[in-house]
Symmetry: C2
Subunit: 228 residues, 2 copies
DNA sequence: TTTAAAATATGATAATTATCAGTTTTTCAG
DNA sequence: CTGAAAAACTGATAATTATCATATTTTAAA
């Protein structure tokens, strides 16, 4: 189990604002853990009692709608912090986190980190900026969900995946989602997502082989996302 | 122009966490202003340079979609703070604020309040909790927008209006929105919103007279919102 | 490897929602 | 008060999206 002070992942998130001493203290009480693909890290209604720092892998964060379908609200990857919101308002989790590939995650108990939150203004400001930025992007998602067609949303989502996860040497996106997950991100039926992916493929804007998706023309996708 | 120390509205928001001294300082530099119905307080892309504290009235906060329709993301009323996000990340406004009735608002310059944000941990934590709570409700809106039908969303919105704004002695909601605004909250065409309102009226779950809406059966509306 | 289960795919159809066109009602400036 | 503009409304129709049924392919456990 590595030490937080030396952890590279930490540099990617708000924990970078902690002092050396704080990190040593956190390192002593944190626990590291492997999570298998498909495993649920926490579910709606659970008490979190701490935050997770993602060392490796990707998980989806979702919420069940009253109509029985899961809506994926965001994708969390290496370097991201998970559960900070429940930490702040001290409520049970509003969302569910599920690994979409094998992961390694560190858990930091609430009591340790809440102390830093109250004492270290740099750290607090950093969390504050994180939340402000999440809120901005949530607002943008609301607008897209409310105003764009499923086709527009799919195009937009593909561009977002490219920006956030990048692609390998063969231009294949570095994230492999099931068709159902794709549908649950853009808020549509699985069949509709499949049909639109086929349509994009036919039109030559993407290449699809199983869960491997490559974007062939990002400009064209951007046009589709804007309604052309 | 009243003094912040004595302002009742302040008790409703994060400003209640400020000390007497901080309030006196802010009071000295704040400016108060009346805003007419329909007037734009700030628009997307503008530099805010401060936050607004709403003394009276209601405004809509919206964002233009690339398809040319305005999506209303929230309604801000007496006691709410407006523009805190732009304050924190120091970016231009992502949203537009428009008065939906006559308002009175106080403006607090950025420099004054940013100082308190960095120095007063109670105040910072209060803002942090505000943002966490906004983020939670934004996530819930995303789920609804993505998974619910327009009919479900309208029913839900009516319940939200009742909870947030209440009704007068004649059971009429204390907020008077145009049909277009209603459509822009739930993310649909104005005609669709009108049709569904008529349907609800016919079914006897609401009473409508112009912009005066009364909820007759909240339980029925809740059932509709959940898909029955 | 075999086989059952899960995921993906496709077609047909129904339901929802948007758009366009036009009418009626309301609002409000003069 | 009056007339023009804006808002609200209604109908017809088109476009989008969901649902159901079923076939094919892929995955993973025995």
């Amino acid at each position: 189990m590595g030490k937080c002070e030396q952890c590279i992942v930490r540099q990617l998130n708000s924990l970078k604002s902690l002092t050396k001493e704080e990190l040593v203290r956190i390192s002593a009480c944190k626990t590291s853990r492997f999570v298998k693909k498909g495993e649920v890290i926490f579910d709606e209604g659970e008490h979190l009692n701490g935050v997770y720092c993602i060392s490796e892998g990707i998980c989806k964060v979702s919420k069940m709608s009253s109509n029985g379908r899961d809506q994926i609200i965001h994708l969390v990857k290496k370097g991201d912090i998970l559960g900070e919101r429940s930490l702040i308002n001290d409520e049970v989790a509003n969302l569910k986190a599920t690994a979409i590939n094998d992961m390694e995650i560190c858990f930091i108990p609430r009591d340790e980190i809440i102390n830093d939150l109250e004492k270290n203004p740099d750290f607090t400001m950093s969390i504050l900026k994180d939340l402000a930025s999440s809120l901005k992007s949530a607002d943008n998602v609301i607008v897209d969900m409310a105003q764009k067609t499923v086709k527009q949303r799919l195009a937009e989502m593909l561009i977002n995946l490219e920006n956030r996860f990048g692609h390998d040497e063969d231009n294949v996106l570095n994230i492999h989602l099931s068709r159902e997950d794709i549908a649950n991100i853009i808020g549509t039926a699985t069949e509709s997502a499949i049909r639109l992916l086929s349509e994009f493929k036919k039109e030559g804007v993407i290449k699809v082989k199983g869960k491997n998706i490559s974007l062939i023309s990002i400009p064209k996708l951007k046009k589709i996302a804007q309604g052309f």
